[in-house]
Amino acid sequence: MTISLGYFLRESAINFRRNWVMTLGAVITIFLSLLLVGVSVATGYVVTEIVKDVERKVEVQIFLKDGFAEEDMIELQQFLSSDPLVASVDYTSKEEALAKFKEQMKESPEIIEQMEGNPLPASLDVKLVDARQVEVVVAKIKSNPTFPRVADKPDNPEESLKYAKQIVNRLFALTRVVRIVEIVFIAMLAIVSLIFINNTIRLAIYARRKEIGIMRLVGASNWFIRTPFLLEGVFQALIGATLAILTIVGLERAIMPKLREVLSFLDLSLGGTVMVQISLILIGSGILIGLMGSGFALRRYLKV
């Protein structure tokens, strides 16, 4: 019925205006709840990116003996490159290794001075797709038949593999905790927001329970009473979500460039797609909560 739709829209718009204390309360609650959730999700995203970036820096180095056979090295490199766990395999010659070492050690020049010739071996530097798979990749390298032939220490090939076992383990312990804390916190905020919004809507409807009773006595069916409330809930959610999104976008604009400047050594990013995703989540969940909150709260007063 087109008449009814018009009626319901008009009705909920009027309610919206005339019960503005309640409306404002609900809009503020929805806005702030979604803002909290949105900011946490965005922060969580940045943290996750940082964690991933740090993890990406975990690599396995294979030291090669002086005068290794070129074809062996290439074979090993190809074997590793074709592994789905491996992101890239780069060759570092003896000279490049020395240059890097000098660069790294330039704050302890006493050690560089002491060095004669080029004691550093060439290496294959293996970057991983998922840093947590480091032990698997190491095992694969060890079991590869070419590996002992090119290894720096053929008698004890294992010593030709370098990866910061302890650091990697600590890093993973830390990043796991960071991720769990992140998820738990966002989940907590989401649940709390849900309760807040639900609570506010319940109070708003509680304050109008007499009206609902009167409507019933005048012969209004449940859906006739419910629809304007639900539409109102949707309006409120839309306004709240929009405000939250605008605030988050504003914050992003204001904070991210500064943060990127201060933490220029970290790869901080919060792309447009992420913002769009967050916006969609906020609007979607806002409307859902608005609808469900109103719906549930009404049930109590819609019993005959």
Partner: protein, 231 residues
């Protein structure tokens, strides 16, 4: 002969008190005009609330407009109520709606078009003398004006049954007379009318059927009766 209202052996007990209604047996035919009288607290409003299925009886059967209220499914209740106009003792106006909107609501509920609403609502408000109070909210109206909005809402959709609980309690004798003759005219068009009232003058002058309650019991049911009770 079809009964509009039929109550058989109806008791109503509110929590732990003496009963509000005891063994009420009443039949009201379609098109009748009935006064319900009794002292304060004798059960008149309870009687009306039962017919509107606002409350359920503790015992007994109630049939209104062919519907057995004890068996009526809860989702069907609104449809029952659309056939009953009710003037409530405490008016029960929606506080966030103007007089016009309050009366219009009764039509919107049954899906009347905006056109119908636009013509009928002002007409009905004029009948109760509120043509210049259409845009006032209930708390901007005097007691009597609120009562008249409630009356207007009750009959705007021409229901076959009209219940009125003390419809002239806040009205002066002259306005009361106007309302009563309005109810009378509505009754002449075939609507069954039940009026709970304390207005002795009114009851005595109209000489209609009178049902008298005392402590929840029907003590008198008289055609062309009077208010009764000696002061």
């Amino acid at each position: 002969m079809p009964y509009m209202i039929s109550m058989r052996g109806v008791d109503k007990f509110y929590a732990g008190e003496k009963p509000a209604l005891v063994d009420v047996n009443v039949e009201i035919e379609q098109g009748e005009f009935v006064f319900l009288v009794g002292h304060s607290g004798s059960g008149k409003s309870t009687f009306i609330k039962l017919l509107l299925r606002e409350i359920l009886p503790t015992r007994g059967t109630i049939v209104v407009a062919g519907q057995d209220l004890m068996r009526l499914k809860s989702w069907k209740v609104p449809y029952l109520r659309r056939n009953i106009g009710c003037v409530f003792q405490d008016f029960k106006l929606l506080p966030n709606k103007t007089s016009y909107e309050n009366v219009a609501f009764a039509l919107e509920v049954i899906g009347r078009s905006r056109h119908v609403i636009r013509t009928q609502v002002p007409e009905v408000l004029r009948l109760v003398g509120l043509e210049d109070k259409m845009d006032s909210y209930p708390d901007e109206l005097s007691g009597g004006e609120q009562q008249r909005v409630s009356i207007a809402r009750a009959f705007v959709n021409r229901p076959p049954l009209l219940l009125a609980d003390e419809p002239t309690g806040n009205l002066d004798p002259q306005t009361s007379l106007g309302i009563m003759s309005l109810l009378s005219r509505i009754n002449k068009t075939g609507t069954t009318v039940l009026v709970a009232t304390h207005d002795r003058e009114m009851v005595d002058s109209m000489r209609r059927r009178v049902i008298a309650l005392e402590n929840g019991k029907v003590i008198r049911d008289q055609d062309r009766g009077v208010y009764g009770y000696d002061d």
